[in-house]
Symmetry: C2
Subunit: 383 residues, 2 copies
């Protein structure tokens, strides 16, 4: 499924020449209605890119007609000229589609601190508009890739309506609210306030709990558009559940394709006093470079888990902590449990469960190991 699976949407992915590789680098997703309802969440990084500053304004009236996206340049830390370039991109998109620039969300991704080549962007907008198609979702998903090795799409089929989504992101991947570019479409009839509520709830437990490398991007955007073209109006709880499923699927694809990773790690904290405590503890472990390198080395080094847990202010007693790795309780009551040698870390999936024995709340953070390939990708190439 893709962003063009729901009725009322067209999309395109084309090559504007922004990337030295010659790969596709601009995408366009258009909502043909009848409704143009939208909601979005953006990075909480205070150094926000020009397209984020622009798009926050666009979404504030809950109407979005189109999203224009480019890879090959983040347009972040580019000052007034960068903002003018985002504005010009929205104006050009509006002109070729016959809509208002104030209804065009702009997303950019790539190297921070360089101006976009507008002599390629503006013809790219024209080419993208000319390529718009009712089955253009896959092409759009490919055109937003940067260091991604595969394009990411997901979908949900509800009774009489559907939800489709695409995402990019492989590095600088930690939640600020989300940490990547994501476009989600639906033909369900959902009011803007309900779209916003559903999107915030879905991202809170999916993209927000994805933390590959602890680095928050300047460009994170998740935009959700409803065309209402199906004529079906699901209940909010049902719609939120379907949307959460799409977000979780995309978030999982991001982790699986994260730069250089060799293990996908789910860190679940259980029996926490609060959900916030559970998330804090899981995230502290997810951000420990020593834990992440141990997993790369297939080493069930639970001491590195406890040393990370100990840096948090969550409610727990050190002598009551239990840690399981892939089903083996290697740490019991803060001390030595089952033998480390029983833990098999040879597969890609790793599950760490930390029992705080302090309540009944749970949260999972999804992360990766820290590998030679991560260091190689992020030292050898600018992004």
């Amino acid at each position: 499924m893709s962003v063009t699976t729901p009725k009322g949407f067209r999309a395109a992915g084309i090559t504007a020449g922004l990337k030295a590789s010659g790969k596709p680098d601009m995408a366009l997703v258009v909502n043909d209605g009848p409704a143009k309802a939208a909601a979005a969440v953006f990075t909480s990084n205070r150094v926000a890119a020009a397209p984020v500053l622009w798009s926050r304004q666009v979404v504030s009236d809950t109407r979005v007609d189109a999203v224009i996206l480019n890879s090959g340049g983040a347009n972040a830390c580019t000052g007034a000229e960068g903002f003018q370039n985002t504005h010009a991109t929205a104006e050009k998109t509006a002109e070729v589609l016959g809509i208002s620039a104030g209804d065009v969300v702009v997303c950019s991704t790539g190297l921070i601190g360089e101006q976009l080549p507008m002599d390629k962007i503006l013809p790219g907008v024209e080419a993208a508009a000319a390529a718009l198609a009712g089955d253009g979702g896959a092409a759009a998903a490919s055109a937003i890739m940067t260091t991604d090795t595969v394009s990411k799409q997901a979908g949900f089929s509800g009774p009489g309506y559907s939800i489709g989504g695409m995402a990019k992101g492989a590095g600088m991947l930690a939640p600020g609210l989300a940490t990547m570019l994501v476009v989600i479409t639906t033909d369900a009839e959902v009011e803007p306030a309900a779209l916003d509520s559903a999107l915030r709830e879905a991202t809170r437990v999916t993209f927000d709990r994805t933390d590959s490398d602890g680095c928050m991007s300047t460009n994170d955007t998740v935009v959700l558009m409803s065309s209402a073209a199906s004529g079906t109006a699901p209940g909010l709880a049902e719609f939120t559940a379907g949307l959460t499923q799409v977000c979780a699927d995309l978030a999982r694809q991001l982790i699986t394709d994260a730069e250089g990773a060799s293990h996908d790690i789910a860190i679940t904290t259980v029996n926490a006093a609060t959900e916030s405590d559970a998330e804090t503890v899981s995230r502290a472990v997810a951000r420990s470079n020593l834990f992440k390198t141990a997993i790369f080395g297939n080493d069930p080094n639970w001491g590195r888990v406890l040393s990370a847990v100990g840096t948090t202010d969550a409610a727990f007693e050190p002598g009551q902590l239990n840690v399981s790795m892939n089903g083996v309780q290697v740490c019991r009551n803060g001390g030595v449990g089952e033998p480390r040698s029983l833990v098999d870390l040879s597969g890609r999936e790793v599950e760490v469960v930390i029992d705080l024995n302090a309540g009944g709340e749970t949260a999972t953070i999804w992360t990766n190991d820290l590998t030679h390939d991560y260091v190689e990708e992020n030292s050898a190439y600018s992004s």
Copy 2:
């Protein structure tokens, strides 16, 4: 200079057989007085090792007669048995020295989550006591090494007195208060309250601002002992300045020998509204894996600096941020400054200066780059 440079101290470093390599693994530092004043700071990690729990109690009465240290095992997350082993080590040390166990600080470093081999530790205490010598400082400094490639010693000569110190630490190196084992001696006459005040001020701006890999240890200990054997009583400000110099020297040696590092990086935030803001911003950059891998790749990627600064709550306007790398202002007013190509990162020393334009306060965090060797050391070997 070493811990035996100040008058009134003896030390030893011996091989008890804790390390598979057969290298020295136990050290002893004894204060022969006449005074036995002491102060210490410990890890703030809530999962504190047994020797930390023990030594906090020992230091609480401001008297320390001896410090017994072992590498080859952290005795952390080892429960009641681990605490009993620390206690037994202190008792044995007291017995062979003819002092009270309640005046013996115990320090351990090595793998978390395994019991110490007491059948080797207790004979090791006897051997260390037998080897005590007035010039044993260097041997002690060697015996506390783990993944350190060189031993670390430093000293300060004041008018009529001296300060000597030794340190170990190469990984799990981020401040909790300090993140390693450090023993500092002085023959200056300094009252316990002044020792404590001087030590907290010195560590606050040295070890506390050393952040190699963001991972806080369970065993960090910095202990300072005064024998008063010189008969000289310096003023508190003068003594604190000398002590800070020793701590800064040792902290710098820790960074230079950090696991796998190829660059030593000083990140200074200037013109901050508060010192706390300056420290927060410098530390956020020091903990960005993307920034650290960029430096490994000799890439002056200032966008990764700004994306880290943007995650903090320090007072600043994004459009007023300036960043210099090795003297080149690559980011001006939040946007593009001088060409990146002017920055030379080929040397080991890297200086990043972040100007917040929000006040007059400054703080520096010392860190390293993130390299293939860091990943290799921490994935291939348990610690």
